[in-house]
């Protein structure tokens, strides 16, 4: 069965804790904001210079001076503040952000992350991804388990140019949830399965060393 994109985002939202300052990457991670649990107060940082991101504006109320790092129009909240790009990345580099949730092209069992370029194929640039990968206290990757060609995006070692080394703490894919061993050596630990997904299916679709340590009941 596996999780839909919304279900993946909902599962990721369970990793948010009250009082957290969080930076959400573009793509599926952006959806996480829709599933913040009630009573959990989370402040969203946007690396182009804002803390306390509000929802999208109502139609007709978009402000061109108020966008997020994905260049979408957004709004401010009573707790918002604005600052420069240098101050924004001083905040990120200084380790003040509790959690970042990013998309990925490849993740390795040692926590290496590749999500910014495909040599000869895609020219975009790393934007703020390398800064987030190297400096945020906790990094969760939220991505489809396999590529469009059905290839595992979770590998023993990344093949694409890296965004960061030993930086991924947790992977949430459409098939389940995996802890990375950033210290290296012990590989991935499968801790949760999406409903209807079997350990054998995960193993077949994952090109990395993996131990199974399912916690409690399977994913909702």
């Amino acid at each position: 069965m596996s999780w839909t994109r919304d279900q993946m985002a909902q599962r990721a939202a369970q990793e948010l804790h009250d009082g957290y300052y969080v930076n959400l990457g573009i793509g599926i991670p952006t959806l996480v904001a829709n599933f913040i649990p009630p009573g959990v107060d989370v402040t969203l940082q946007s690396e182009n210079g804002m803390l306390g991101m509000g929802p999208f504006p109502y139609e007709g109320e978009a402000d061109p001076d108020l966008i997020n790092a994905g260049k979408q129009t957004i709004t401010e909240l009573p707790t918002s503040s604005f600052f420069s790009s240098a101050d924004s990345f001083a905040m990120i580099r200084g380790g003040h952000i509790d959690l970042t949730i990013l998309g990925a092209m490849e993740v390795a069992e040692n926590g290496d992350l590749a999500n910014w370029t495909i040599p000869g194929k895609m020219l975009k640039g790393m934007g703020g991804a390398m800064d987030l990968a190297a400096n945020v206290k906790r990094l969760i990757v939220l991505m489809e388990h396999t590529s469009k060609d059905g290839e595992s995006k979770i590998l023993q070692r990344c093949k694409l140019p890296l965004t960061g080394t030993a930086c991924v703490d947790l992977i949430i894919s459409d098939l389940g949830v995996f802890e990375c061993d950033k210290k290296g050596g012990s590989g991935l630990k499968l801790i949760e399965l999406a409903p209807g997904v079997t350990v054998d299916e995960v193993k077949a679709k994952t090109k990395a060393a993996m131990t199974v340590a399912l916690q409690g009941s399977p994913g909702k």
């Binding site: 504006p57 109320e61 604005f82 600052f83 420069s84 240098a86 975009k124 703020g128 080394t165």
Partner: protein, 244 residues
Amino acid sequence: MSNKVYPDAASALDGELFDGMTIMSGGFGLCGNPENSIAAIAQLPVKGLTVISNNCGADNFGLWTLLHNGQIAKMISSYVGENKLFEQLYLSGKLQLELNPQGTLAERIRAGGAGIPAFFTRTGVGTVVAEGKPVQQFDGELYVMERGLRADLAIVKAWKGDTSGNLVFRKTARNFNSVMVTAAKLTVVEVEQLVQPGEIDPDAVHTPGIYVDRIFQGSAYEKRIERMTTRPRQAAAQAGGKSA
């Protein structure tokens, strides 16, 4: 009495451009772009430019116009996606590109303006970004040394400025503008509102006037939105109040 005020971009930039010069251009995507100064440079014959800017405009807009004119030889940026012309020129070898992590780019400019020739950061260690750069261990962790960045000219967009050069930016249009204004030999600032001294609270000044060499009130701002994203009014009562 010294005077920093110019009538427009053309007069503020007059005689200050030369082939092969390095220009910092503020903005993040199309937000907070120095639209008037970019348009003025597009009208001039200057070429072979090295442009330091987080992005390189978008189709038909912003720095894209200088790219389209063949005026840019090299970009120093963090993200150049969503720009087909850029990709074409780069892949055909007509454009050089130096990609920096966004925070490293911002800090390199801040360092350039603050008299710091080099600093260490964790960002990029173990990636292509660190190749050829000194890597050093501090307290058991590896850091790469990055160099300060300066330019011949910075073109910057602020929201409000007084005639002595004190600036205030608006919302996320501050971005790289308030950093670049510190790091160039000549700084040309365009504002939406040019006001008299005393109209900006000294505690609310984002950029002190010392950093501003020339200032003019810009006109005809387009402020194009790259990704208009809205929610319908009927969703107001939903739980989506946190979505962004």
